[in-house]
Symmetry: C2
Subunit: 292 residues, 2 copies
Amino acid sequence: MKIQTECLPCLLKRILFETELSTKEKKRQTKALRTACTLLAEHYNPEECSATIATKVHKGVYETLQDKDPYAKLKHTSNIIATSLVPTIEELIKTSPDPLKTSMICAIIGNILDFGIDGSSDHPQMLEEVFDTLYAEGLGYDDYQKMRNLLKKATHIVLFTDNCGEIVFDKILCQELKHFNPTLHITAVVKGEPILSDATIKDAKEIKLYEVVDELFTTGCFAVGVDFHKLPVEVKKALKHADLIIAKGMANYESFSETTYAPIAYLLRTKCSAIARSMNLPQNISAIKMYE
Amino acid sequence: MKIQTECLPCLLKRILFETELSTKEKKRQTKALRTACTLLAEHYNPEECSATIATKVHKGVYETLQDKDPYAKLKHTSNIIATSLVPTIEELIKTSPDPLKTSMICAIIGNILDFGIDGSSDHPQMLEEVFDTLYAEGLGYDDYQKMRNLLKKATHIVLFTDNCGEIVFDKILCQELKHFNPTLHITAVVKGEPILSDATIKDAKEIKLYEVVDELFTTGCFAVGVDFHKLPVEVKKALKHADLIIAKGMANYESFSETTYAPIAYLLRTKCSAIARSMNLPQNISAIKMYE
């Protein structure tokens, strides 16, 4: 997705959020906010992918803050809160007429664990507060049947994860994918370096994601979503041979929608107007959308 | 008020709003947005008044857009819509046990006619939609009695107006001030040049504000709120001799709160968290707050 004008104030709001997470020192905050504005002025270009620009701005801000992971505490809490909801989800799956679909809906609800933007959480506890409501709402856009048909005959899939906490539900999704198609080879990809509230290899190991997938890789670098120039060769290979790519969350959509990788299923909450418009979906829904 | 961190994304959101009002040309929009980011990076300083920084950024953006008044159409519509509500307000005043207070509440409701920020209107028509609700809500903070006591013995007051549309209700307020204290000398001050949705001398003349005030001046320049360095000498003189200053809206609070002018009554909707916090008021209320 190309950057939209409305991404600018939103990006600055997120930068402010992470700056205040990182430090209470006014001088350092000011320096970080000025850095962000300078980088926005320099890199804002409507012909450029939103995730690419966001990567440049966050990189500069992290460096100015001298903070490798402003979201560290939030990410940890997100994993704990999501883990506390696992029994609820397991019960929903056990009693579901379609366990795979139920696990997908839950993995999409986990996508609200994003911080500092409108339409997302203010705090990880929000996941507990809204889970039942969002579960009852179900999918606002539903390509599940298409996806299921593909998954039935698939041998290799690649899953690009998104946020901490959310990844706990992604693990359950992987388990259900294996139940649905036991011969399925799953490659999971987490972030190469801490970026926003996204899961890294440390988080993946913490929740033992390796127990339910066949391969676990990273995006290989610091990037919002995916920087395809820096993607490790083994991930590129997996993508090339995948019968289906599953991409969680908005930043992965922003990145993949600039490529020709297919077939791809986006599993996300449409938290912002720019992405909702780009995907031709209503805002603030849970969606499974396939591009073949 | 010193600029707060949250003012940055909010200011950029407003810049985006006026940029899209001004032009549909992508190139010009991009140039304006980049200019805004450059100026924010250059001028953001937590020791500086928010209105002063906003003035610099909007000035640069208006110049880049080569547009002296991006809000021209919205301002005109605001005046029309507010005028259509005059009979309603006159009826409320006629049947009120305290016509002056009623006129003040209405003049504060008019303060929602601000565009491009959260907590304000999306479109001038919103005034019609929310008028009854906001009138029923009344004042969330009420220094009216203090103000009334001062007005009873006052001989000179100065009124700093804010938005178009709102100024139609300010005219009614002036009429009621004169009914309340027929010897009161009212100096009204509008903006020196078009800035945001604020009323200028053109708007004041259009609604015949001169019919109900004794003097009508402008702030003398392009500024969000008031630039006291450029304030005409006659306004400075009026301020010095005023028994009470009435300042409408947030930008006038941002400017006056950096000065020692007193006594001053702020009549506004607390549309943003920064100003609500600074004034120690809840957000999104109608308020009369006096500083003596």
